[in-house]
């Protein structure tokens, strides 16, 4: 196409994966070689759940590309002193110097041996939120995998601060990293702080807008009226961190007041509700087969759970015999013992959790809690079915979902359990209209949830727990956050390290807990697309640690708070400059449910700026210069770049002895991708993908619903009773105590077969009082945080247009405070206040709103930048200075929450 004045106009297809709600497809208008406009990819309108559209953040990419603050040549630090107050004295250097310096260090490490005196990898690498950097870092993973063990355990909050408990229990019960409503089919959604209109990206927003048009009822339960609360039929302002009580109240109504309306067949056949629980709390088992027993009402005796046409009892007490197997294979024999089905245990367990009890804890009228439980049942349509692609499945259009701070930190276990259990009670788990898992990450294979369903002898899904038995337990942590040692549930997939209790890695740099190796800093630390100095808790402590790392290599967009401590800065080609092919489609978090799957290309829409280089080029050069080229190419051939280059129908492998060009790598990947999608029939390469941008094949909708796979495998969901977790917890406890470690005891308590409500707000208050010797009455507010649709964490805070449009949405750039409360305190909009927690203080301007609890203040996002150009001039407050890293506030999955208590003092009147 040519413009009126004879110039040329191109529309280049590419993808955006700036946030975890992606990827989404777009086109970029390029006029005379200059990128001018982001537009939807109309060609993808019919085949993508986003209708080919991208969200507001994608419109920041042009300014990101041409941002005058970008770092466009490699740089090295000239000031050996590191510190927030130190000028790093970065000076430009050549790529050769930069890469050779790094390669030298790498060779030195190889020579010394990959692990240091404490047994930790000498090389560490950190990547940012939700794993999205993977979709920008080309073949860097291939390089990393070829230079031996790497510590991925220094996090920025992804994991421990976000959906951490959810990630682990989601994988256990849903085979999924996160959990979502079946929005297109559901009629009723209970949302506990699931901030979908801010965090769900294009797909989330579109699916829920369509659902509203259908008349869905969504109830948003959270302390402030978020954009999601705004778009919900009802807002219930709950006291922070009391969600578990709320959900237990809901369970009580369903179990004790409405039992007849539950999906009894589902509970009997598809859950472990009938499994008999022996006196010591473990399942009663058949001595011969060791299978858990159920009590058959027909046969009037206990039979193995998988006995055909048994009619299992859910309630009652029965005198039966069997064996019980506990931790470390402790075994008991029981003769005609009184035992009860797990479901009966559940009934007894929840009998005290009445709405009245819950209402007082949550500061919500108990009538509301009971009403919501009844509405949930009213919409459940227990007994109905629907046909999906010829397959008959239960139809249960009720769902329940959790957001950040609800599904992580203490209470996260209770909430995830209660959430999935509520779905079970009405048979709405993993069925059309119900509550669904999204993407599998910790289980294998990572690209197909259904195939990850493997049977456990006890009749539910198997799970790759990290061993806790004497022989198998990893007594000496192999990475600094000790994920496999402390967190059995975190498994051992490539994602597991980043999902460890990553704050342990930081905390131990200061002081190791008792009987634990003193953690060492990594000899080399690689950082890309993450900013722990801004994003983590107690950011002052983080920066203190960063200053001690001997050699830090940061891929750098602009200067930022983390690369302020770098020794080498490497400018990478950004979103609109780099070349990469990724898998798209299927089901992905947050609400990416596709009817297709396949591949999409990210390509340079214009030539790279300055001397920024493509990630794949950088990775290849690093591999070559540090002498691991063959391993690197081998890794690519095996699929480290996303697609195995050799399959049963095709072979596009790269020669391991040659240095591949960037185009060669991705051309081979494109060909392999085409071949994979067509069983070898076609092999279109890079040029085809450059022109078309994406290639898809149908993805059966029945795969959205794990229930189908469970039914096919004749398995049950592992609810309500967590016998396995109890056993693991006991074993882990023994292992730790054998090593004299008692600082994890509170975490061990959480391995309950049925979660006990602990007064979570008090846990925070007590922990703060204990650790900081303060009186909570001096800190009258809860401080919470929330997402912004316009920002991807703090990652695009340096982009002017994002700031400009975000300003239209209330709450940005300030301390959000209840208007009535503000008046009471004599505070007005725009007043500058100091927000002080027992740990530290931050400053911001007051934003008064009606839509927030009087006992809560909100600080959106993480924007207290002090080095990132543009962002650092905004002078915004952040919760991250205020929230401490404490073992006491770490749950058994190793996660905490963005939550603390604060007080406000006026510093200056409005400008």
């Amino acid at each position: 196409m040519t413009t009126s004045d004879g110039g040329t106009v191109k529309k280049v297809p590419t993808y955006c994966y700036q946030c975890v709600a992606g990827p989404d497809l777009l086109t970029v208008k390029v006029v005379d070689g200059v990128a001018t406009e982001v537009e939807p990819n109309f060609a993808a309108a019919e085949v993508t759940p986003s209708a080919g559209k991208v969200c507001v953040k994608a419109f920041g990419l042009v300014q990101k590309l041409y941002n005058p603050n970008r770092i466009l040549t490699p740089m090295k630090r000239t000031n050996p002193k590191k510190g927030k107050d130190q000028d790093p004295g970065f000076v430009p250097i050549s790529w050769d110097e930069a890469l050779d310096t790094i390669a030298e260090r790498l060779k030195a490490v190889q020579a010394k041996g990959p692990n240091d005196s404490s047994g930790y990898p000498r090389i560490a690498a950190s990547f940012g939120g939700g794993g999205t950097p993977t979709y920008y870092m080309g073949t860097l993973p291939a390089f990393l995998s070829s230079i031996g063990p790497i510590d991925f355990g220094f996090g920025s909050g992804q994991g421990v601060k976000c959906y951490h408990s959810e990630h682990l229990y989601g994988e256990l019960w849903h085979r999924a990293f996160t959990v979502a409503p079946d929005t297109p089919n559901t009629d009723y959604i209970l949302s506990f702080g699931y901030n979908i209109e801010a965090s769900g990206g294009v797909c989330g927003v579109k699916r829920h807008a369509d659902a509203r048009a259908r008349g869905v009822k969504r109830v948003q339960i959270e302390p402030h009226l978020s954009v999601t609360g705004a778009c919900s039929a009802e807002w219930v302002p709950i006291r922070p961190k009391t969600d578990a009580a709320f959900m237990f109240g809901l369970l009580h109504v369903m179990l004790h007041e409405q039992r007849k309306r539950l999906d009894i067949p589902f509970l009997k056949q598809r859950t472990t509700s009938p499994y008999l629980v022996a006196p010591n709390g473990f399942f009663l088992r058949d001595p011969a087969t060791r299978k858990p027993l159920i009590y058959c009402l027909e046969r009037k005796r206990a039979v193995p759970f998988d006995t055909a046409d048994a009619d299992p009892a859910l309630e009652g007490t029965f005198k039966v015999s069997g064996i019980e197997i506990g931790a470390d294979d402790d075994a008991w024999e029981h003769r005609l013992e009184k035992v009860q089905p797990a479901f009966q245990k559940l009934l007894d367990h929840t009998s005290e959790y009445t709405p009245l009890w819950a209402g007082r804890i949550c500061d919500v009228p108990h009538k509301v809690i009971r009403r919501l439980a009844l509405e949930f049942l009213d919409h459940a349509r227990v007994g109905e079915t629907v046909e999906i692609e010829g397959r008959e499945l239960p139809y249960r259009p009720v769902s329940i979902v959790l957001g950040k701070t609800v599904n992580n930190g203490w209470g996260g276990f209770d909430c995830c359990w209660a959430r999935t259990l509520m779905a079970c009670l009405v048979g709405a788990l993993e069925v059309p209209g119900g509550t669904l898992g999204t993407t599998v990450r910790l289980n294998r294979p990572a690209n197909d949830r259904a195939l990850s369903v493997k049977p456990h002898p006890d009749g539910f899904m198997d799970y790759p727990m990290n061993p806790t038995d004497k022989a198998g337990w990893l007594a000496k942590p192999d990475v600094r956050n000790a994920n496999r040692t402390l967190i059995p549930l975190v498994a051992n997939s490539p994602w597991s390290q980043a999902l460890g209790p990553t704050h342990l890695a930081w905390m131990q740099q200061q002081k190791a807990p008792e009987h634990w190796p003193q953690a060492t800093p990594p000899d080399i630390w690689f950082v890309y697309r993450t900013n722990p100095a801004i994003s983590f808790w107690d950011t002052d402590q983080i920066t203190a640690v960063l200053a001690k790392f001997p050699f830090t290599v940061c891929f750098a967009l602009t200067r930022d708070e983390t690369n302020h401590f770098a020794d080498i800065l490497l400018p990478d080609r950004t979103d609109l400059e780099g070349l990469q092919l990724i898998r798209v489609g299927g089901t992905k978090f947050i609400e990416q449910f596709w009817d297709y799957q396949g591949f999409a290309l990210r390509q340079p829409v214009v030539e790279g700026q300055g001397d920024a280089r493509d990630f794949t080029w950088i990775a290849t050069e690093l591999a070559r210069r540090s002498g691991v080229l063959d391993k690197y190419v081998g890794a690519i051939n095996r699929g480290a770049a996303g697609v195995p280059l050799k399959g049963e129908h095709y072979d596009f492998s790269l020669p391991p002895d040659e240095t591949p060009t960037v185009e060669a790598v991705w051309d081979a990947s494109c060909r392999a991708a085409s071949a994979e999608l067509t069983e070898g029939a076609e092999d279109q390469g890079l040029d085809w993908y450059r022109e078309h941008g994406f290639r898809l094949a149908p993805f059966p909708r029945v795969k959205w619903y794990l229930y189908a796979a469970i039914e096919d495998a004749g398995l049950r969901f592992e609810l309500p009773y967590q016998e396995r977790l109890m056993r693991i917890g006991k074993q882990l406890g023994r292992r730790l105590h054998e090593h004299g470690i008692s600082w994890w005891d509170e975490q061990l308590e959480e391995y309950d077969p049925l979660p006990e409500y602990k007064h979570y707000p008090e846990m925070w208050e007590k922990a703060l009082e204990r650790n900081f010797k303060v009186d909570m009455r001096d800190y009258p507010f809860w401080a919470v945080t929330a997402r912004s649709m316009q920002y991807a964490w703090g990652g695009n805070a340096g982009i002017q247009v994002m700031r400009e449009v975000a300003e239209n949405v209330g709450g940005h750039g300030g301390v959000v405070l209840n208007a009535g409360k503000a008046a009471e305190l004599g505070l007005a909009d725009g007043d500058l206040v100091e927000v002080r927690s027992p740990l530290n203080a931050t400053r911001g301007r007051v934003v008064t709103r009606q839509g927030i609890r009087p006992d809560t203040v909100l600080m959106i996002g993480q924007f207290d930048h002090w080095a990132t150009p543009f962002a650092k001039d905004l002078k915004l407050p952040s919760l991250n200075k205020l929230v401490p890293m404490l073992i006491d506030l770490t749950d058994s999955t190793g996660s905490g929450a963005d939550l603390t208590r604060v007080r406000l003092t006026r510093v200056e009147d409005r400008r």
Binding site: V31, D32, V34, A35, T36, E37, V38, E39, P40, F42, S50, A51, K53, V54, C55, V56, F59, G60, V62, Q63, Y66, N67, P68, N69, E197, V202, V205, K206, A209, D210, R212, A213, G215, L225, V227, G229, A230, C231, W235, P237, M789, Q790, Q800, V801, E804, V805, A806, N808, V809, G810, N818, A819, G820, Q850, G851, I852, R853, P854, P869, F870
Partner: protein, 215 residues
């Protein structure tokens, strides 16, 4: 007869500002200039609070005060209802801006520049210098509409003939079309939803409708 109007479904709108940003891209407007923007309105008192997101911009009024007051005839009105500004006639008196009850008009003197450090390539690529020192506002993407007519496309249906903010809206909250045609997308929406127009009492007959509940 044709009258193009915009319809915003307040039930769908989530205030994401994708439309705001899309307009800024398409029209290369200066920092701070938002021909389309979306308000965040809170109604009521805690705990009985509602929050609504309200897209605003030029309403392309049928009886536009901005045009009546314009001394230079720069502001005009087309048969299809679009209210236009002739940048070459405008003297920059901003009388129209104070005459508009919808705060839809802007005037800026400086060229686009988002960062103090220097102007970016795309900013230089699209100077839009004829727009400095004169009134500017939402055009309803007039050039797209005219392109559509020239190529037999239907504005509001075919993306190439549809306003950028409408194309970009991720919630399909914004719709555009001919209200005179009872079969059009917008007429259908108005027939099936409760709706209002802003400041109707001022008699400007705005061409921008807000849906607030299904019928």
């Amino acid at each position: 007869m044709t009258r193009y109007v915009m319809v915003a479904d307040l039930e769908r709108c989530v205030g994401c500002q994708t439309c705001t940003a899309a307009c800024k891209h398409t029209n290369a407007t200066a920092p701070g200039v938002q021909w389309r923007r979306v308000l965040d309105m809170e109604v009521g008192e805690y705990p009985d609070v509602r929050r609504a997101f309200v897209p605003v911009g030029c309403m392309h009024c049928a009886d536009p005060p901005c045009m009546h007051v314009c001394p230079s005839t720069a502001t005009g009105q087309r048969a299809d209802g679009l209210v236009t500004i002739d940048y070459d006639l405008c003297i920059g008196c901003t009388y129209c801006a104070v005459a508009c009850p919808y705060q839809a008009r802007y005037m800026v003197e400086e060229p686009n520049q988002a960062y103090a450090k220097g102007r970016m390539r795309h900013e230089r690529q699209r100077e839009e210098s004829e727009r400095r020192g004169v009134a500017q506002k939402c055009t309803f993407c007039i050039d797209r509409i005219d392109y559509g007519h020239a190529h037999g496309l239907t504005p509001g249906i075919d993306p190439a003939a549809t306003p950028a903010c409408v194309n970009a809206c991720i919630a399909s909250a914004l719709q555009f079309g001919d209200i005179e045609d009872p079969q059009s997308n917008v007429s259908q929406l108005l027939a099936t939803h409760e709706h209002f127009r802003m400041h109707e009492e001022l008699g400007t007959d705005p061409g921008f409708y807000y849906l607030w509940e299904g019928r």
